[in-house]
Symmetry: C2
Subunit: 416 residues, 2 copies
């Protein structure tokens, strides 16, 4: 009988398990994952960038404290592959006024950002002189915002860090075991098969897995894109849906190599570049390449073995990418992969909630799970431990229920 069973050994699950063990060393904690090791689900398929600068309080709080923790780990000598290359938002005219307002707010608050007027934008785009681009309806870039407290990280090292610390502290793991459902038992059994019935008070008893049942007093689902199907089947409705995501890798050779090494604001490498129409270009210095993706309005749904689609590159990304950054002309990806976002379809923020006695969920990170994993893990651990408050890295304290599904957050204005 485990005290806490965490389903999912991705960034959120491992951070949660680590923080449970840290806060309650004598508890018996188990992490179960269907993969043969940690971080092999969608954590490994992340675009793995981070920033701490957002307009909404909740984004800022989760990302800033998490990234602060990662930085401390990195500075302590455990290399997480963090590089503070920055984010460069290339902003079309239609959004210029909004972006200027956001930038001025940030600058006033002392945030390290830089606003470039059209003529000073450090990445040359040719949309304004290109007739085809105009026919395609692609907007000219009229201003750019460089966000400096931002960069890239290696999610596999991050999750491995949590895993090592967790195991050191006596945490247990079970890999290659798939959790199939959550089990409840009646608080007052009456001895009739089929219990618990709808009218019986019940609490979590454990989970059914591909390797048989596991008993636990508390189960925390940190199951990302798998969350919807597991919780639907258990009768707990969450506004979290899986959505396919794809990343295409282009070698940074020739002039693209120069672009890769053209860091801004004294950084060694190019920033994460956010183009209009949801396309992003992420530097990958170790592999001398760029990772490219797009936030497309794709159907929701889960694919058992998601594969990257050449068509998305060809029709969804390439035509726009090459208009804004002509250096990519003629390039084709030499690698690509696909995974899932676990998207909160209401406010795109994670949900950490208690769904029933002994049943918790920590999911819905909506594409920013890596940069928020530490805070989400601390909140999930505190909630599962029955603490009213969660202490985030750096000492900031939030309500453990801050991410419950019925919360209300302001809308983020600085989005990809």
């Amino acid at each position: 009988m485990y005290d806490y069973l965490v389903v999912g050994a991705g960034a959120v699950g491992m951070a949660t398990a680590y923080h449970i063990k840290r806060l309650s060393p004598s508890s018996r904690v188990l992490v179960v994952d269907q993969h043969p090791g940690v971080g092999m689900g969608d954590t490994a398929k992340s675009a793995a960038a981070f920033r701490t600068i957002f307009t909404s309080w909740i984004n800022r709080t989760l990302a800033k404290t998490s990234v602060g923790f990662y930085r401390e780990v990195q500075n302590s000598g455990y290399d997480l592959g963090m590089r503070h290359v920055g984010y460069l938002f290339l902003v079309p005219r239609e959004n210029e006024a909004t972006m200027r307002a956001v930038a001025h707010e940030l600058i006033k608050a002392g945030t390290p950002v830089e606003l470039y007027d059209k003529m000073d934008i450090p990445i040359r785009t040719r949309v304004s002189e290109d007739e085809e681009a105009r026919e395609m309806g692609l907007p000219d870039v009229s201003v750019a915002l460089l966000v400096k407290e931002a960069g890239i990280i290696d999610p596999e090292r991050l999750v491995r860090y949590y895993y090592e610390k967790y195991v050191e502290a006596g945490g247990e793991v079970m890999f290659g075991v798939k959790v199939e459902s959550v089990k409840f038992s009646p608080k007052r059994p009456i001895g009739i098969p089929g219990e618990p019935f709808p009218w019986q008070d019940a609490r979590v008893a454990g989970v059914e897995t591909s390797a048989g049942p596991l008993e636990a007093k508390n189960v925390i689902f940190a199951t990302g894109a798998w969350t919807e199907m597991l919780m639907d089947a258990a009768g707990f409705g969450l506004p979290i849906k899986p959505r396919k995501r794809q990343v295409f890798v282009v070698k940074a050779s020739g002039e693209l190599g120069d672009l890769l090494r053209a860091g801004l604001a004294d950084r060694e490498y190019a920033p994460m570049i956010i183009l209009p129409r949801g396309i992003y270009v992420r530097p990958e210095p170790v592999e001398e390449s760029f990772w490219i993706g797009v936030s497309d309005r794709r159907r929701y749904g889960f694919e058992e073995n998601p594969e990257p689609e050449e068509e998305l590159w060809r029709f969804g990304i390439y035509p726009v990418l090459t208009k804004y950054v002509p250096l990519f002309e003629g390039k084709t990806p030499h690698n690509a992969w696909a995974g899932h976002y676990d998207e909160n379809v209401v406010d795109y923020q994670p949900i950490v909630d208690r769904l029933a006695e002994g049943l918790y969920v920590a999911a819905g990170t909506s594409g920013s799970g890596i940069m928020k994993a530490d805070a989400v893990g601390r909140i999930a651990a505190s909630l599962a431990l029955g603490l009213e408050k969660a202490e985030l890295h750096g000492g900031m304290v939030v309500d453990s229920a801050v991410l419950k599904k019925t919360r209300c957050f302001e809308e983020e204005r600085l989005v990809i």
Copy 2:
């Protein structure tokens, strides 16, 4: 080319279409439904009760104005089968304090409710003297609340009323046609197959159906339990999920007949009775019977042809029902049916929102669609017509975006 195409001829869809036509008589409006007539989906499977008394503002506003409209229709001579039999909440001790607080608030506000102390509760229950009930963990009833502005209605007549008025006003309908998907077209076509691509500005062009494409400038999905699968496929995430619901019908013969005719507060028939553990007993005077259901924590999911499950009656309802109302002992349902709720899994309120240019949704009524259909229809019509405000029955004005998916409502405290 239609100006407005409403998908779904249930209560919400027909109310929406009727109000569009009422507010914009010259618009060409079409209602499409897969069934051979109006109200043949989940509208016909509703428990079809109404109340106007809630603790939350939004529940009160939607139900009170809608029921006010139905009452006016009924009083004008168009029989909607409304009977103001009331709702009787039988409250277990664990909820007594909350219910007393709610009741005192309501009484202070001049709401027609009546609170019965244990000895005066007009329905005799025997839980307190029953050892088996105690072993089952069933709580004794310690107080009861009678809500008078409440009762039952015939949803098929209601939807027929809207249908007749809509057709009279020149509205068009297409039955037996299943809408399969929503179609978009690029605002600036470039003439390449596969348009619109993710980076193109697009707007609704119409729908694909089992009978071929239909063109429309605006499409409103009033698709209840079908909403999730249709909108998931279109890439629009909503916190709305289908959940099976079942109603069991028991003949009101012998002493049950006396119970049926034992109206409270001068009403002719028994009230809708809400037992502990989510079981409700609805009088059906026309058929001399009771409709019985339970809000069970059932898995989410859609069934193509949902059937009632004898097991739910036998293990989920009967053991509890007979403990609270022993008159049901030995009774078996002579009829039953199953349908779906379209449940908003966050706040159990309807969502009326604009998802893209020309694309609207009006769904998620979560089991109170009949009693809120008029207000939801007025809000959906106003939003689709581009009006900032919606005028509800009785002259109350709300923002047309009041039910957008990112709203924040207080939690309802008076629930089944």
